[in-house]
Symmetry: C2
Subunit: 330 residues, 2 copies
């Protein structure tokens, strides 16, 4: 059982196992037919910035429940990561983020106009990679996912800030922000691998659950993470007035504390001292362990959906990814 | 030959003939599955702003060379217009345009972030409509077209301003800006109608030629148009430093005139008096009739590609669209 190790290396073990597949995915992502040199440079910059490639890994693992990766599965894995990259380009522009994974974002080094167009280009390239699966249903899932992501992002940007302090709203937001893309990876891969409808549905739900846990842990790391390892500042969401799960649970525990509502309401301005104090209070509260418990519950749900699926190393790896999600530090 | 009338009404006659098909396309465009109210309002605003729907008309006419419009063809026509609408949303943001067709643009009434995300949503919705054709090749053409459009726009935004004063560069730019979408309409419709490969190629080339003529006439109207009818200011491209065909031909004729290079070089600032004078000089020069002659040549090429295609009212309408393109006033 090489993948059930309870350390950060759960992911590394899986990455090692699928190294060849992942290299094919990287190569496919770089088959981008660009003639305009500045755009090529920008895309190279984005692809080099890398990331853990957990979304293509989900595609490959789901596919490997059924068969080794063929060209269509490699294209799908590349398409999912390219769609993810495109959404990051526009997100960073919208949020005014200057660093991602410790590397300057595109909008930090280029104009807003160029950033918008580069994101659009990457959406188109993602669609083109998805078309290489030659599977109409996969393409429809792609389109539906991007619609859910955009609508969720618009709601986050323009929704009622008070209504956004409900747990229901938080869950809806992290579904759109993260879980929808995980869902795309596992559902589309299952469709492409010609899994039965009940297996497609189980894998779709596994993807959603893993994605929900992933985002909750991301939101926890915004309070507990190491700025050097994260490659971005701590308390980022709070600074932007976003009430993530640790914030919501802290507010439940400490309804009398005026500091957090003041920051969320925007009346603290950009006072870093106040935000640091708020981060300290949340980090030292029960809100963190309770948030992690919710992430663990999602991992439990996700693993339940794996029951009855074809066993073997891919199945074990999908199970073990839950440990990675719960224990990652960036 | 009801469609060969040499007036603006060539388009109206075709629109009248295909009224029912066009209503199905409008309905399909409005089947947008939105739950977030502000986004629904924004999309309604964009769809009400309308336009002449020449791109869906091209899809429908190409399809009707072979068969009446089925659900897939209606979805394709809606997808093409939705993709066009999405590109306009981002273009207006990038150009800072506040009016289109006399109606405030989305970026004039909303934030840049909302405008970026709404454009993204419409790209996704266009892809979702394209997926409803259930034709993988159609979807690949869609993705390829959006890539060409984005790359062309990036080149226009960031290319070498001096190199952009060549006729070759101009033709490349208007292909990406306009002709690529016309090409998408006719090529994808021919594929969907199961035309033979040689007919797909002929219709693809017809679409390119019509689109090239369309954009040249658009660039002519930027000098000769009526601001009330156009719904946007005259000399807009020149103000933005864009050397369109009338400008290039004027520069060929009057290499000694320092005014135009001064405006293109950006050293005139935003001096409206200078731009008005430049517009007057170009409008009264041979550059206008020579530009129209180039548009006519493209229409001639396009019509040559129609030779040998199935005859009937759709064929006559495709022929007559050339007259509309050459004689339109907005």
């Amino acid at each position: 059982m090489p993948f059930t190790t309870h350390t950060e290396s759960a992911l590394q073990t899986v990455q090692e196992w699928l190294r060849e597949d992942l290299e094919r995915v990287e190569a496919r992502m770089r088959e981008i037919p660009l003639t305009f040199e500045p755009l090529r440079t920008a895309v190279d910059h984005l692809l080099r910035a890398g990331g853990k490639r957990i979304r293509p890994l989900l595609v490959l693992l789901t596919g490997r429940l059924y068969q080794p990766a063929d060209e269509a599965m490699v294209s799908l894995a590349a398409a999912v990561e390219m769609l993810h990259t495109a959404t990051l380009v526009h997100d960073d522009l919208i949020d005014g983020s200057l660093l991602r994974r410790g590397i300057p974002t595109l909008n930090a080094i280029w104009t807003p106009a160029a950033t918008v167009l580069t994101g659009d280009y990457l959406f188109a390239y993602a669609a083109s990679l998805a078309a290489r699966t030659e599977n109409v249903r996969v393409m429809a899932i792609f389109a539906r996912t991007l619609m859910a992501i955009c609508e969720g992002e618009l709601q986050q940007q323009f929704g009622d800030r008070v209504a956004m302090r409900s747990r229901q709203d938080y869950m809806r937001r992290i579904y759109a922000k993260t879980a929808a893309m995980f869902e795309l990876a596992t559902e589309a891969a299952a469709v492409l691998a010609q899994a039965s409808e009940s297996e497609v549905e189980a894998l779709r739900r596994y993807g959603v659950a893993l994605g929900m846990a992933f985002q909750i842990m991301d939101d926890v790391l915004d309070f507990t993470g190491d700025v050097q390892i994260l490659g971005k500042p701590i308390g980022n969401d709070l600074r932007q007035g976003l009430a993530t799960l640790p914030v919501l649970l802290y507010l439940e525990e400490h309804p009398e504390d005026p500091l957090i509502p003041r920051i969320l309401g925007g009346s603290s301005g950009e006072d870093d001292g106040l935000i640091e104090e708020a981060v300290r209070r949340i980090r030292n509260s029960e809100a963190i362990t309770r948030s992690i418990a919710e992430a663990e519950a999602f991992i439990g749900q996700g693993r339940a959906h794996l029951q009855g699926l074809p066993e073997g190393p891919a199945w074990q790896a999908l199970w073990a990814l839950g440990d990675h999600v719960l224990r990652r530090n960036r």
